[in-house]
């Protein structure tokens, strides 16, 4: 394909058109309510990438990307994992508990809690697998139902057995120094969680397209009966995909907890809404896994930039939620229209 042709393809591709459409609509909303878009948009961009904000955006990108994998992996097998919050909290609390309760030598003190977090998240998600394959309770319902109790359990652990004494907030004590994730370069936010999640994303993309397991997961998601007929153990594949997704969520939770402020603060993992931002990003990528990191980056920029926009231009940051919602709706519509035109 020639460069101009490629450029044309990119420009008219669904995500680009959707973003443009959503921005147009949002501008309209701004004008209607009397916000000056020429102030708001630069503020949004500055809030995301200018000054020291880029660092923060990158830091927020890490858990969002992790949660995107948590949703995307099971989705490839046809399972909707909407219970990311519970898996995230379980992973976070498991990592915190291990780091606090077991004295570990350096390096191991970081690695083991991360592994524990991934295991805990995977376990919480895996509960949905037999419910789906044996009892025919759809994962979209069961993961959602399991999520709240898992968050509650983590909250309970942090409030009581693992609580720091003498503080007003429900949180664990600071984790021992050995368990702190090292920062990347001179940053105060970006830890080695970034390269870790980037490498894992690469591995996932590779596995999805280039491995037997990836192929079997995709076949299961495309047509479960076909995969079963082809000798794929679909129940196991679905369970692996769900557990794998949960592990990504749990790992994200562990990464948050092992990063500054180096403790599990009740609510701090779920309040930023990583789970649904990630769901939106994956849906935005409309079944093209390579695009997922890009859509995650886009939504993270919007979200973090929204804060900057509020600080600088006094525009409520909820505006970015509106933009996100519109983008998703428009992408879905465009993807459908495109699929129809192909037919």
């Amino acid at each position: 394909m020639t460069a101009p042709a490629l450029a044309r393809r990119v420009v008219v591709s669904a995500p680009v058109v959707a973003v443009a459409g959503a921005l147009a609509l949002t501008t309209l909303v701004m004008l209607v309510v009397g916000v000056d878009p020429t102030l708001a948009y630069p503020a949004l961009i500055r809030g995301a990438v200018a000054d020291g904000n880029l660092e923060y955006t990158v830091a927020a990108f890490v858990p969002t990307l992790g949660m995107a994998l948590a949703f995307a992996l099971p989705l490839r097998a046809g399972e909707f994992n909407l219970g990311g919050d519970g898996q995230l909290a379980a992973g976070g609390v498991a990592a915190a508990a291990l780091a606090l309760l077991v004295p570990l030598p350096p390096v191991v003190a970081v690695v083991l809690p991360l592994v524990a977090g991934a295991l805990a998240g995977g376990l919480v998600a895996a509960v949905a697998a037999p419910l789906s394959t044996r009892l025919k309770i759809p994962a979209i319902v069961s993961t959602l139902l399991i999520s709240t109790p898992a968050v509650a359990l983590a909250s309970y652990l942090v409030r009581f057995p693992l609580a720091e004494a003498g503080t007003g907030i429900a949180q664990t004590p600071t984790l021992p120094d050995a368990a702190h994730l090292p920062f990347l370069g001179g940053s105060g936010y970006v830890t080695i969680g970034l390269p870790l999640i980037v490498v894992l994303t690469g591995l996932w993309l590779y596995a999805d397209g280039r491995t037997v397991t990836g192929y079997e997961i995709r076949a299961t998601g495309q047509n479960r009966e076909f995969a079963r007929y082809g000798g794929v153990r679909v129940d196991r594949v679905a369970a692996v995909a769900l557990a794998g997704g949960g592990a990504f969520a749990g790992l994200s939770g562990a990464l948050i907890v092992l990063g500054p402020p180096y403790r599990f603060v009740d609510g701090a993992l779920t309040a930023p809404g990583y789970t649904f931002t990630a769901v939106a990003a994956v849906l935005l990528a409309s079944a093209r896994p390579v695009v997922v990191p890009l859509t995650v980056a886009l939504l993270t920029v919007l979200q973090v930039g929204g804060q900057g926009m509020e600080r600088e231009a006094g525009v409520p940051s909820q505006l970015t939620q509106i933009v996100q919602g519109l983008i998703i709706v428009i992408v879905a519509v465009l993807a459908t229209l495109q699929a129809r035109r192909r037919r």
């Binding site: 020291g52 923060y56 503080t167 429900a170 403790r263 701090a268 309040a271 804060q307 600080r311």
Partner: protein, 322 residues
């Protein structure tokens, strides 16, 4: 870097204050007071004022960083949610002045000043009123979440009631759910659960859920206590009194001291300092709309208890200390 006061001596306000909240202010009366106090102080000092509202615990750090980059005269953070950030950021920016309201970072730097309150003393007074006015002897609290901090409004409230009605019983309920600070429907249900069990006085500490509590007591004939500010007018005739925390006054005083050069240090406001209280103690009680005004004997007892606490004759246990 230098402080703003060194660099800017031109026409525009040479001094500035940035206030950061841990949550959206909304109708959260506590945060509203925080904004009011800082705004008032800024006006008085001729400083410019900016408000950064955080969405969640994670965005607090981002806002603090952005504030430090803006190099104002003073960065103010409200609540214990800033404990972690203010542990490190002031040390890393020794030229910048900080003020934490309502809590204090453990590892306090010299350029961090703190203002905190003895809410439990005011809650104890409210408990005394509740004990005297309750017929059933059954008291309740509806709080947003079971965090350690919120217990300053719970145990002292029940202790105050027990001091005047030894056989009184107290039950705390928490709103919880997926939106604990803003689920008035659940708060109302919780309050109804309490009234259904014979509770006739409920202290509301449910933030955005408080109006729900007032609606519940209004319907059942019970009475409620508000929190932080005078909420008696929200539900006339149903609110006995409020556990006041004069955040604005204390905060404004602290800001002025810092601008005057008295930086760092911790200032604790209790009943003695007038930083906390109840409307029964206020001069404008008659016009407050609070029903305690109809019971002069209760008001008298509250005043006496206040005096006893200030004099050290009564010590109110701080649940956070234990």
């Amino acid at each position: 870097g230098g402080t703003a006061s060194e660099t800017g001596t031109e026409a525009a306000p040479a001094t500035s204050i940035i206030l950061i909240t841990p949550n959206p202010v909304g109708t959260n009366s506590f945060l509203q007071l925080g904004v009011k106090g800082a705004e008032a102080a800024a006006k008085e000092l001729g400083a410019s004022f900016k408000l950064y509202e955080s969405k969640d615990p994670t965005s607090i750090a981002q806002n603090v960083d952005a504030a430090v980059r803006a190099k104002p005269t003073l960065v103010v953070g409200i609540s214990f949610s800033f404990d972690d950030v203010f542990n490190t950021v002031p040390k890393a920016n020794p030229g910048q002045q900080f003020l934490q309201v309502d809590s204090c970072a453990k590892d306090q730097a010299p350029n961090l000043a703190c203002v905190s309150f003895k809410e439990h003393e005011a809650a104890y007074l409210a408990g005394v009123e509740a004990g005297l006015l309750s017929k059933s002897g059954q008291l309740g609290v509806v709080a947003a979440l079971d965090t350690p901090f919120v217990h300053r409004w719970i145990e002292p409230f029940f202790a105050g009631a027990a001091s005047v009605k030894p056989d009184s019983k107290g039950t705390p309920l928490y709103v919880g759910g997926s939106n604990p600070f803003s689920d008035p429907a659940r708060a109302k249900s919780q309050a109804q659960t309490l009234t259904g069990r014979g509770v006739d006085v409920i202290a509301a500490a449910a933030s955005g859920g408080n109006p729900g509590v007032f609606e519940a007591v209004a319907a059942s004939g019970a009475k409620a206590f508000g929190v932080d500010v005078n909420q008696c007018a929200l539900s006339p005739g149903n609110v006995i009194d409020n556990v006041l925390k004069n955040v604005d006054v204390a905060e404004a005083a602290a800001i002025k001291e810092i601008f005057g050069g008295k930086t760092g240090g911790v200032k604790v406001y209790g009943l003695a300092e007038g930083g906390v209280g109840v409307n029964a103690l206020a001069d404008d009680l008659a016009s407050s709309g609070c029903t305690v005004a109809d019971s002069p004997d209760v008001v008298a007892k509250v005043k006496q208890t206040r005096d006893d606490i200030v004099a050290g004759k009564i010590t109110v246990a701080d649940p956070l200390a234990g």
